[in-house]
């Protein structure tokens, strides 16, 4: 999806008034103030990942069969993340589906999950867990470096001090999980072909 490129009006005006100076000062002061605020409340990795998992739900469409049942956001391992998510999604809805966090200890309980996070502590059980999701529309997310190679759909990656992610589109397609182009737009890398063309 491209940004609207309709022309506004007229030529660009470059004549600045006498208020240029104070405007500049005001702008800089404002930016400085916000920069300070941002530094003071640097979110933790768990916070970021929890928010991402929650937000993924907004950019993914599951098959109709998924119904209007609560959307389960499952976390395998990493209890702290599970707690963060639990707090985050409490009372929240996505497309009319209430969000529910569920902590899993074993890979065999994944059947009802919409989003499944496999923490780095469960690295040994990744393949097993992914096998359990086979044939089910479950968005699998992990932060293991080879998560996508192992058949995962979204893998968190650290880029400088930002948490980013890559997408394995082929796996998404195979599990009938449709990922929005908006999400793909901000992915670091995308594996596989897109289902439909024309979108970035």
């Amino acid at each position: 999806m491209a940004i609207g490129t309709q022309r506004l009006r007229r030529g660009e005006g470059t004549v600045w008034g006498a208020r240029l100076a104070w405007l500049l000062l005001y702008g800089l002061a404002a930016i400085g103030a916000f920069a300070d605020g941002a530094e003071a409340q640097k979110p933790s990795r768990d916070d970021v990942e929890a928010a991402y998992l929650y937000n993924f739900g907004k950019f993914v469409r599951w098959p109709e069969s998924a119904g209007h049942t609560p959307m389960l956001v499952c976390v395998l391992g990493q209890d702290s993340l599970g707690q963060t998510i639990s707090k985050l999604v409490e009372g929240e809805q996505i497309n009319g589906r209430p969000l529910v966090e569920r902590n899993l200890n074993r890979p065999d309980g994944v059947g009802d999950c919409s989003i499944l996070f496999i923490g780095s502590t469960e690295r040994a059980h990744v393949v097993e867990t992914l096998t359990a999701t086979e044939g089910k529309p479950i968005l699998t997310v992990g932060d293991a470096p080879d998560f996508l190679e192992q058949g995962g759909m979204i893998e968190f990656v650290q880029v400088e001090d930002h948490v980013r992610f890559s997408v394995n589109l082929d796996e998404c397609t195979r599990h009938r999980v449709a990922v929005s182009s908006e999400l793909l737009k901000v992915a670091v890398t995308i594996r596989g072909k897109r289902e439909t063309g024309g979108v970035k």
Binding site: I3, G4, L8, R9, G27, A33, N55, K58, L183
Partner: protein, 490 residues
């Protein structure tokens, strides 16, 4: 074309130009005001659209902390020339991404938005600022701030001014063309009319006519009225000339008459002098003879001489009396009274009879009603007429003198008729001229003034006199006086 036509065309042209310029200026002002308002509204609307698009496209970048993607999205604003700068701010107020059209452009100032509001716009100096809250799935994801330039007012005014000037030039050109047409339609007939009017006033030639105008408009009315006026002036002029010619003819006529009268007067004076001289010579002669006469001369001679003397002085006195009567007839004021003509005539007849009792003359005097006249004058007139009749019947043994009146066409004609010597009708006109006598003095004595006096007296009574007669067949003098009706009316 003359100077007048140029001035009228110029006026028409300037009228066109002024009207179009006024309309143009007013229309420009109106449109400029409208445009200024709509420009700002359009700008804000476009900024809002741009902010919405940017915001929608920045949601994933905000949610997944992808500043680079957000910057790429903002960069798309480069396609909107109005947008100077844009800032993407996260929910916690920190700047997420920025766009600047050029490096020296400051970032749009960030202003906290009211709760629940999606869009806010405000003007700051020459800038329009817009804040748009990005909402995704019912939750705010961040805010877009966009700054745009609003300094185009002056530039647009200049553009409008240029367009207005251009149109004004076209208007002036059109005005020239229109004035050329107007000159043909309006100015030229007026100029021709003015030219005609000038020629009329300069050459006093009222026979020229203004050329008729094909269209039926006020100018046509003017031309027709002007021509009508010329016709009237021409007619009046002709009448005036005719009157003047008549007047001149009359003056010449009068002058001639006056000259004749003058000559007559000279002749009259001469005649008066001559006729007075005659008896005076006689008196002088008699006096001389009387002086040289011896005492011894017979008494009889002296008596004869004295008789001659008496005769001569009587003639002189008679002439002088007649002249006095004539003069009085001309100058005395007429005083109208009831006058009994019959009584006057009877009295005169008696006087005449008494003076010459030997003559056998029968008077036939009609009884006439009294009339309005000046008694003294009318008595003189009747006395002259009767004395005349008496005199010219003196050579007949018996005579008849008649006084009466007949009525003809409402007018009373009086007459004095005798059966005396009469006169040659061909010379009848001379009867009433002073000193003109149709008979020699030896035949009938007289001064030749009597009838002239009568005519004058009757003229004073607004009457007239004429005579009928033939040699030895008597004469009839007819006369009228102012009618009773006229007298009553007067």
């Amino acid at each position: 074309m003359t100077a007048r036509s140029r001035s009228i065309s110029a006026k028409l042209m300037w009228m066109n130009v002024v009207v179009s310029a006024t309309v143009l200026v007013l229309a420009t002002i109106a449109y400029f005001s409208y445009d200024l308002i709509s420009f700002r509204q359009n700008l804000i609307r476009n900024l809002r659209t741009a902010a919405q698009i940017v915001g929608t496209n920045s949601v994933s970048a905000l949610l997944f902390d992808d500043q680079q993607s957000a910057a790429t999205t903002l960069e798309a604003l480069r396609n909107s020339p109005d947008v100077l700068a844009a800032t993407l701010v996260t929910n916690d107020g920190s700047t997420f991404a920025e766009y600047r059209r050029s490096p020296n452009v400051p970032a749009p100032p960030v202003r906290a938005m009211a709760d629940g509001s999606i869009d806010e716009d405000w003007v700051d100096g020459s800038h329009v600022l817009l804040a748009h809250r990005i909402v995704f799935q019912g939750k705010p994801a961040g805010t877009v701030y966009i700054a745009a330039q609003l300094n185009e007012t002056g530039q647009r005014a200049r553009q409008y001014l240029a367009i207005a000037c251009g149109v004004l030039l076209i208007c002036m050109a059109a005005g020239l063309l229109i004035s050329a047409t107007a000159r043909r339609l309006v100015a030229r007939p007026m100029v021709e009319l003015a030219e005609t009017a000038r020629r009329v006033s300069r050459e006093r030639d009222y026979s020229v006519r203004a050329a008729p105008h094909p269209d039926k408009d006020e100018i046509t009315v003017l031309v027709e009225a002007f021509n009508e006026m010329l016709v009237q002036i021409q007619e009046r002029d002709t009448a005036l000339n005719r009157g003047r010619e008549q007047l001149e003819a009359r003056v010449q006529e009068r002058t001639a008459a006056l000259r004749a009268a003058n000559r007559e007067l000279e002749a009259f004076s001469y005649t008066v002098a001559h006729d007075l001289r005659g008896p005076l010579d006689a008196v002088q002669g008699m006096v001389y003879i009387l002086g040289g006469l011896d005492r011894e001369k017979r008494e009889g001679d002296r008596k004869e001489i004295l008789e001659h003397l008496r005769q001569a002085t009587r003639n002189m006195a008679s002439l002088i009396d007649d002249l006095l009567n004539l003069s009085r007839a001309s100058t005395t004021a007429v005083k109208m009274n009831r006058v009994d003509l019959t009584a006057i005539v009877t009295r005169i007849a008696e006087d005449l009879q008494r003076a010459e009792p030997d003559r056998r003359v029968e008077f036939m005097i009609a009884q006439l009603p009294a009339i309005e006249a000046d008694e003294g004058l009318i008595r003189v007139a009747l006395d002259n007429l009767l004395r005349n009749a008496w005199k010219y019947t003196s050579r007949h043994e018996s005579a008849c003198i008649e006084f009466g009146a007949i009525s003809r066409r409402g007018e009373t004609l009086y007459y004095v008729r005798d059966d005396g010597a009469g006169f040659d009708p061909k010379l009848g006109d001379q009867l009433f001229q002073p000193f003109h006598r149709l008979h020699s003095r030896s035949q009938f004595p007289g001064t030749g003034i009597g009838l002239a006096t009568v005519q004058r007296i009757l003229a004073r009574h607004r009457g007239r006199i004429w005579a009928e007669g033939a040699v030895e067949k008597g004469a009839t003098f007819w006369f009228t006086l102012k009618s009773e009706a006229e007298t009553a009316a007067a």
